[in-house]
Symmetry: C2
């Protein structure tokens, strides 16, 4: 292995072999506006608490809050930009245990952290395997907004060397 390869792996691990339990990938931040909340909700989740400030006051939230599905989508954007798999496509086998701990509000700034729980080779193919990640999305007060468990399909180095 060349020094350059080593450096490249440290910057952007991308194959199953590059990851181990405990590794953490941290994202940048994403600023949430009322306009962004409304434009998503009008198309995908047109409920009063997501589209209308006045109507939102009558709900249990008491104010305009973002759709949970938009929080999910923003988390994906944060991890794509963080090059979670070093630019390899992020392809999920399963997503589990999604919990929305608190709503996303206008003015929030979200970040995501993905922590590697384990990597597992595929039983049937040596060019890929599975990686289990715990993904946590937080706001600017370091409060947890969303947690979820991802199982991704990740190529091994065998895939490129074969």
């Amino acid at each position: 292995m060349h020094a350059n390869d080593d450096e490249s792996i440290r910057r952007h691990p991308q194959y199953l072999d590059d990851f181990k339990a405990g590794d953490r990938i941290s994202s940048g931040s994403f600023e949430v506006t009322a306009e962004l909340i409304r434009s998503f909700a009008e198309l995908y989740d047109p409920q009063p608490m997501h589209i209308d400030e006045e109507a939102a006051h009558q709900t249990i939230f008491g104010e305009l809050v973002g759709s949970g599905w938009q929080t999910l989508a923003i988390t994906m954007r944060l991890l794509v930009d963080a090059k979670l798999l070093g630019g390899n496509p992020i392809i999920g086998a399963e997503f589990a245990n999604l919990r929305f701990h608190r709503p996303m509000r206008p003015g929030d700034s979200l970040k995501a952290i993905a922590e590697v729980l384990q990597t597992r080779p595929s039983r049937s193919r040596n060019d890929r395997g599975f990686m289990d990640l715990q993904v946590t999305t937080t706001n600017q007060h370091d409060e947890t907004v969303l947690t979820q468990a991802w199982t991704l399909i990740v190529p091994t180095r065998t895939a490129v060397h074969d």
Copy 2:
């Protein structure tokens, strides 16, 4: 109970008491365009297979496909429009077992079905309870695109009569 109430419940069940295992709520349909796929992906999932027809040919998908997170968002829209809880807000306690069975493509027409698995009263509060649903999203060929398990927080009739 008035005949009118009975009719209203049959049309749009909305309280925990109105649902039982085996009930199914079916949505209308949602037409997916290449433009819609790209506009979502540019903001939330800017990977080559979702934003660029040419680049998508080089991926394992071989063509432009929608982000899985957009499939999720469209499923929410379908079930909001279907008045899943009769207009009561759809608030999730947990979402689990999300599996993307096949990609969503331009020209697809998606539908969703939510099937009630069980209802459970809350142990601590008599004005609400939990409803477990299996949610299935299909395309115009009746192929399964997405399956997931929802646990929603649903008010009981006690909540309105207290």
